[in-house]
Symmetry: C2
Subunit: 461 residues, 2 copies
């Protein structure tokens, strides 16, 4: 999937990872185009004046900004920043392009790289100094339209995780402390890694309100001829998605790839024996690949002669290919193939007459099973707590903690301060949109004040 | 298409340009995947040690390299370069990944941004400090395989120009002076801009030979168990393609987009009159768009009520939409539409019964006509010269000069020195693969030595 690079915090995305990215991209790009979002490309570089225009925003990003100060042997007159995100890159031009209500909504997206020079624990996919993402930036005449789009995009992110990556996520709203720097409110899909007991922010859809519009003077003349300020959103998902997938589905044999995103869905392996019709077996493998490929299934045969079938099994299991098809003398004789699932090891003999339907069916079952298993494991980690003592105990057990909260920023700061330590502090993950009932009189687990909502807490990536 | 950016030499690619890029990308990406090239993504950053490994290469790029020296408030221990191209980024890992002949060929490609901090005349699309491109990097066991691929890729580049952008190009080989820094030989497709009388390198497919393999120690055990060095290629085309298209087809009304790459192929405009059935006309416009869209034609209607039909005509002509469809009362009554071509202004009344076939036919004709006209204009600029005086005269007339040449590096340097001036020096553009007959005894136009080939010369971008 990746290769470590000689600059710390940078990684090489090898084709096996890249094709997962491309499979998600094809889906998402088509969906946002249906929503009339158009792709564009803004520069990598930001001038310091513009970058610093929105105060909260730059405070959030300043420590991680990489600066270009030289070209060739010459010093630049002014250092130039590399985009950590593109709000400040784009919005001066939104101000220029948006004049009247007929220019709205403006909906742009770009697929690009961004740089955040983080010093804490670089981790492949999850926290890297450069990563790939899409960033959508939209402007509307009304808050209602912006609110609606925030949730439409969040639903697409849920589908990427649940339908493509087979990972259950929770849709919700971030706390004031955890929201996007400079925005009005942030929604996210949150995943959880049972093995490490940490939450992970999967993707975010922000309503920026009018904060950036004010700073960048993005005004328009509304239908009544009055000067108005736009309402803006920004939303992004990144190659982090692939890292979440690796952590959620991987097992002690290696990767496990959900069929919908796998570069290769089926690997066909010949299993010849001493006296068998080796050529016949190899031909059957090639024919199987041809039939599956014609049906739109991503299939290849591993016909290398210098490796044993057993070695090949392990190799492709390690790489996570969802379905293995073995063809040996008995299969050849019976006009069948043997199919072995990567997710649970189940085996089935499939008549070659029904090859395509059966393989398609198995791939769907694998996709569904990966999701079901991941959801069962995630749900088993959820712990409902009501008091600080229960909270601390659940945190020690690496649970995904659901707790009644007063939703006060100072209280979250206090929770962070009180849970600081080697493992990192606990923080709020999200306030889920689907709220369990909150009986009147319920107290905040941390402050004892009246609770206003249920919120997920835990340590996170 | 573009917007100027507040950092000199950087430009914003607006959706109108981006969709042209995406239309070419869809074609090229599918074609290279058929050739078993796989997409990947390598980091934006290069450490100085690696960048400087191939001496000729770094000499070629050093003056244009942008350097990151700071992150947040801290100075980096070592400055880090931003890729001007990725040979030195990738090849240390090729060395790691390639061990035996079974690891070959290795064929990778990435779609990414690169940075060349040029100081001479930044021009949108043509010469910008950051641009988008694809870069393919392949390694083979034999020179023959590398040679073959160089030409396969060059043919794809020809198709992008001729079939998609409707621009005639010449396939050929670059001179020693003009070849890729550090490579063995460079092939290119060369276009010509009649208005300015300048040649322009359209895209390049390089055989790197074994130069980089030597520097980066990319060796493998061949089938006989001997240690061998790989043969490498690299090849790229960039957003410059869009700039060439703008210059070749644009006219005094604005852009002219070839249908195959146009974001919008057909714009439908209602032409209501005072007493006409306005609603009926608007409905017919919407229905026309629906029918064309269903047939896979990129069509939209401009139903804005506050602009006159005439204003809309000019507006969409300026934007270069290949075909305009007008629907007025007479068209409504006759169950027809009026179609007007952007390329030559030709008008036709089309029965709505045959709408899809007729529109498809017209789009094909426009595509072909744009190519034919561009080729006629380009061909009219070609001047065959045999002596220095003829050369200088043709250069003054901004011709695309075809001249017999001795193919010596010193002679090209001399030509450059002797033609230096405000307009820039003349240089060799390419030695076309299709060579006219070269009668025995023909002399080089510049040196008077025996000529070995016909070569195109001129000023260039």
């Amino acid at each position: 999937m990746i290769e470590y690079y000689d600059i710390s915090g940078c990684y090489i995305l090898r084709p096996w990872a890249m094709s997962i990215w491309e499979n998600m991209q094809t889906f998402f790009d088509a969906e946002i185009k249906k929503m009339k979002v158009k792709n564009c490309y803004f520069p990598l570089f930001v001038s310091p004046g513009v970058l610093q225009k929105e105060k909260d925003h730059i405070e959030g990003f300043a420590p991680e900004v990489a600066w270009v100060t030289k070209s060739g042997e010459s010093d630049l007159e002014v250092p130039i920043a590399i985009r950590p995100t593109s709000e400040t890159v784009m919005y001066p031009y939104y101000s220029k392009w948006i004049r009247g209500h007929r220019d709205l909504p403006l909906k742009l997206n770009q697929w690009c790289n961004v740089v955040r020079w983080e010093f804490s624990n670089p981790t492949p996919f999850i926290r890297s100094r450069e990563f790939l993402w899409q960033e959508g930036h939209t402007a509307f005449a009304t808050k209602e339209e912006a609110d609606t789009e925030v949730l439409q995009i969040l639903e697409l992110y849920r589908r990427i995780y649940e339908e493509f990556l087979a990972i259950p996520v929770t849709k919700g709203r971030k706390s004031e402390l955890e929201k996007f720097a400079g925005g009005l409110y942030t929604t996210s899909v949150e995943a959880f890694i049972p093995n490490t007991g940490r939450g992970i922010q999967g993707a975010t859809s922000h309503c920026l309100g009018q904060n950036f519009a004010k700073m960048f003077e993005i005004n328009f003349e509304n239908e009544k001829g009055e000067k108005s300020m736009v309402w803006q959103n920004s939303w992004a998902y990144s190659t982090r998605t692939i890292g979440v997938m690796v952590m959620v589905h991987g097992d002690n044999k290696g990767l496990v790839l959900p069929p919908k995103v796998a570069a290769l869905q089926v690997i066909v392996i010949p299993v010849p024996y001493k006296d068998a019709d080796t050529q016949g077996i190899f031909d059957a493998c090639a024919a199987t690949v041809a039939i599956l490929s014609d049906a739109g299934i991503r299939a290849e045969a591993d016909l290398r002669e210098n490796y044993s079938p057993g070695w090949k099994y392990s190799n492709w299991e390690m790489k996570g290919v969802p379905l293995r098809i073995e063809i040996g003398p008995r299969d050849l004789a019976n006009n069948q193939v043997r199919a072995v699932r990567r997710d649970n090891g189940e085996k089935a003999d499939i008549s070659r007459v029904f090859l395509v339907e059966q393989v398609k069916g198995m791939l769907e079952k694998i996709q569904q099973n990966l999701f079901d298993v991941a959801k069962r494991k995630r749900d088993a980690c959820i712990e409902v707590v009501k008091t600080w003592d229960e909270f601390i105990k659940a945190l020690g057990q690496k649970k995904l903690i659901l707790a009644p909260w007063c939703d006060e920023e100072e209280v979250e700061k206090d929770v962070k301060a009180r849970t600081k330590g080697e493992m990192g502090a606990a923080k709020s993950l999200c306030t889920p949109f689907e709220q369990p009932e909150l009986p009147e009189g319920t107290k905040c687990f941390a402050s004892g004040k009246p609770a206003t909502k249920w919120t997920y807490w835990g340590r996170s990536y």
